[in-house]
């Protein structure tokens, strides 16, 4: 009887495990099927490197180069802001902060992770956008920079909590050894702790970036959504995700526009896949 129970439970868990893979494969196949249909009418090169995005004109012009650049620019900006602050915060929490401060900080960061992106977008629109406009004397505050700052807030919780875990899991002996050799606290952190935790920290950064590039609602609200090739971070941009979200409702099922939106989905999929693979390669190299 017990054996049967064990058997049934084991198989059930196996099915649960396989189900997630099964769904991923289904989603990917559907994405491919709908997205690749575009390339019957539009060449992939023209799609990827075309400079104008006018999906509802006759004939539609479906070049997503400005959208790719928009996504990359906003993501790069968010990384530049969130990585140093996030890792600094993780070091402080893991190494320096007294126990009480540590608890408060960790709770605060978890709270930051709990804010829905639409709320962040709304707050950004009302507070940050006018601020960016006045500080930089811009014609409009709906810019890539505003998006980057807001997205940095969203990447921070991921980066801090994973990097802090990585620092925390370093064996105590490393730190004790360094201090015993006469290193200062900072020397220990910089020369011993950070290199030892580097694989975990890279993973933290990559996961943070992964979250940023897939984010939709906040960027749609505060980056202005103009499909131009950005000349600087202080101009409006349109991201891949915001394009899908803004236009999917309208696209006539089966039209070129509809297929193009799925093809954008494939591009996003490839970008985030590449980020994960890079993170993985880095981790294995270190080990």
């Amino acid at each position: 009887m017990r054996k049967i129970r064990e058997f049934v439970i084991e198989k059930l868990i196996l099915i649960c495990g396989l189900a997630s893979i099964f769904f991923v494969v289904l989603i990917f196949l559907f994405l491919l099927k709908e997205g690749l249909a575009l390339f019957g009418v539009e060449s992939p090169l023209k799609f990827l490197f075309g400079k104008s995005w006018y999906p509802i004109s006759e004939p539609p012009r479906l070049g997503i180069f400005p959208l790719i650049l928009g996504s990359l620019l906003v993501t790069a900006g968010a990384a530049v802001i969130s990585v140093p602050i996030g890792i600094g915060c993780a070091i402080y929490i893991a190494e320096i902060a007294p126990a009480k401060t540590k608890e408060v900080l960790k709770a605060g960061i978890e709270l930051l992770a709990a804010i829905p992106s639409v709320v962040l977008g709304f707050i950004g629109m009302v507070t940050l956008v006018p601020l960016v406009k006045t500080i930089f004397h811009l014609p409009t505050g709906l810019t890539a920079l505003s998006g980057s700052i807001m997205l940095a807030f969203m990447a921070m919780p991921t980066i801090v909590s994973i990097a802090e875990d990585a620092l925390y899991s370093i064996p105590k002996t490393y730190k004790e050894g360094a201090l015993a050799l006469g290193a200062t606290h900072w020397q220990t952190i910089w020369r011993v702790m950070l290199p030892a935790a580097s694989s975990g920290i890279v993973a933290a950064i990559m996961l943070g970036i992964g979250r940023v590039i897939g984010e939709t609602m906040a960027v749609m609200m505060i980056t202005g959504n103009a499909a131009v090739i950005p000349a600087s971070i202080l101009v409006p941009v349109r991201t891949l995700t915001a394009t899908i979200a803004a236009e999917m409702g309208e696209a006539v099922v089966g039209s070129e526009h509809y297929f193009a939106l799925f093809a954008i989905g494939i591009v996003l999929f490839i970008i985030s896949f590449a980020i994960n693979v890079t993170a993985d390669l880095f981790l294995h190299k270190r080990q």
Binding site: I56, K133, P139, T140, L142, A227, E250, G254
Partner: protein
Amino acid sequence: MIKKLLPVLIGVMFATSAFAAKNDNSIQVKGSDTMVNLGQAWAEKYMEKNPGDFVAVTGGGSGTGLSSLISGTCDIAMSSRNIKEKEIALAKKKGINPSEIKVALDGLAVVVNPANPVDKLTMDQLAGIFTGRIANWKELGGKDESIVILSREVNSGTHVYFKEHVLRKMDPNSTEEFAPGALMLSSSQAIADEVAGNPSAIGYYGMGYISPKQKPVAVAKDGASGFVTPSIGNVLNGSYPISRPLFLYTNGTPAGLTKKFTDFTLSKDGQDLVLATDFVPINR
């Protein structure tokens, strides 16, 4: 415990089935963001007069409404533009036969910040601004500031109408487009807010959204004709150059509840609500 709960569960089952049956008395209206306030006003008044009937109104844009009509997920589509040939073909393929009812007129206001000295523009100048050929307010007699163009997203009937009538001047062979640098905002309200806070912005939307925080620009058809402000009177007498009809689309000639509702929109009560929500009635 379970025995105690059982009657409750059965009760819930009956209640939900009763609710499902009641759905025969309900219609889904979906589409144009421009018309969503009007649709809501109609629905409220209609339900007040016909207790027991239920009308649900949602926005999303004309294209969204028409594509749900085509896929059969709504009964009436509100649209601020004519249905496209492509959409009719697609609907026919799915066994849907869109039928058009004109319910109101709308003047499209071009708005700037009240601090902007520019207060009148010709249609040519508007086309120049929105295509990006005119990039600085000083070319129009304003301050030396670059123009921030605000537009609705492509799922908006207002976007399509403005492109076809102002940018392309009704010429089917024209290939004019909005400037790539135009900011695409997701609602008329977002445009109203940005114009209210940005002295160098220019945007467009249905007359109903004008408030004291924005300044509507007087528009002239060409150099020879006079400048006309967007108002109900000017749209009615045809002197305001950017006005358009608003439509309801149904599957086939309306029947049953759908007919009852569309008839209501064209009745005196319905047309009074058109006026009350700052649109222009067609039946008086």
